[in-house]
Amino acid sequence: MMSCKELVNLMADYLEGQLDPGVARDLDQHLADCPPCLNFLKTYRVTTRLIREIACEDIPPELEERLQKFLRERLERAPGQ
């Protein structure tokens, strides 16, 4: 029988569907009988989603222009560097 600790260690592979089918079945069985592990799984999964959601936004257009100008000047000053 898989322990809670073992289950937590397999969680990332489980969520990506990378566990051997037999191990995944054991894990499913454990989850069905263990509310703390089910809660842990749900909060682990939502944590990865929240990480994605706080990602920084795209490059501001004025920075794109500044960057191109900076690089053009630097590379003109030192061609082939």
Partner: protein, 204 residues
């Protein structure tokens, strides 16, 4: 009618042209990738000025070192490697606040392998409560204090959505090392959020 290849040359072609000294190819690569490099730098450093400097350094390095790029990996992988290294240098050079101890921020287990503490489910809170401004800060601060190597894995894998294999190539680590670093970082971040939610619930 122009073909797609004429209007949108692939990375490999642009790289070849850049190696021959074609500045228009450099500009095309810059325009194609500056947003990605900036976002990676910004997610790693969480500081617009640092991110801008990293982006500048990365493209100067691309121009200078394109001759070292041997085409065995995709150009984008090589570029991410240059960018991750530049962002990591910036982070390591920072006079540091405390790093989150990944080893301490771990779920606790009893000797028999059961959870040592109750585990609450806060995953189904309404979206506005799940990611309120306050919660966003808790998570940003927790990510901020991850050790640089762990932060790189979280940013590349969970934010940029690259595969474990790609992240391993970019960071020069094994797939197993990337997986384990990512899992421990996520556990630490989950633990931070759990502590926050449980403290809120206790106050409520």
């Amino acid at each position: 009618m122009t073909t797609r290849a004429e209007t949108h040359p692939g990375d490999a072609e642009l790289v070849e042209r850049l190696k021959r000294g074609d500045d228009a190819a450099f500009t095309a690569l810059l325009q194609r990738y500056q947003g990605k490099v900036y976002r990676l730098a910004m997610n790693m450093t969480r500081n617009p000025q640092d991110a801008e400097e990293v982006t500048q350094d990365v493209f100067l390095a691309v121009h200078r070192k394109i001759g070292d790029f041997d085409g065995r990996a995709a150009f984008s992988t090589w570029l991410y490697r240059v960018a991750s290294n530049a962002a990591l240098m910036k982070l390591r050079g920072r006079r540091g606040g405390p790093h989150l101890s990944i080893e301490e921020e771990r779920p606790a287990f009893a000797p028999d392998g059961h959870h040592a503490r109750p585990v609450a489910d806060w995953s189904e809170l309404p979206e506005d409560r799940l990611l309120s401004a306050e919660r966003r800060r808790v998570l940003e601060q927790a990510i901020e204090t991850l050790p640089p190597d762990s932060k790189a894995v979280v940013v590349l894998r969970d934010i940029e959505g690259l595969s474990t294999q790609e992240v391993a190539e970019i960071l020069g680590a094994t797939v197993l090392a990337v997986k384990s670093r990512l899992h421990r970082a996520r556990l630490a971040l989950r633990e931070r959020l759990a502590t926050y939610f449980e403290a809120r619930r206790a106050r409520a």
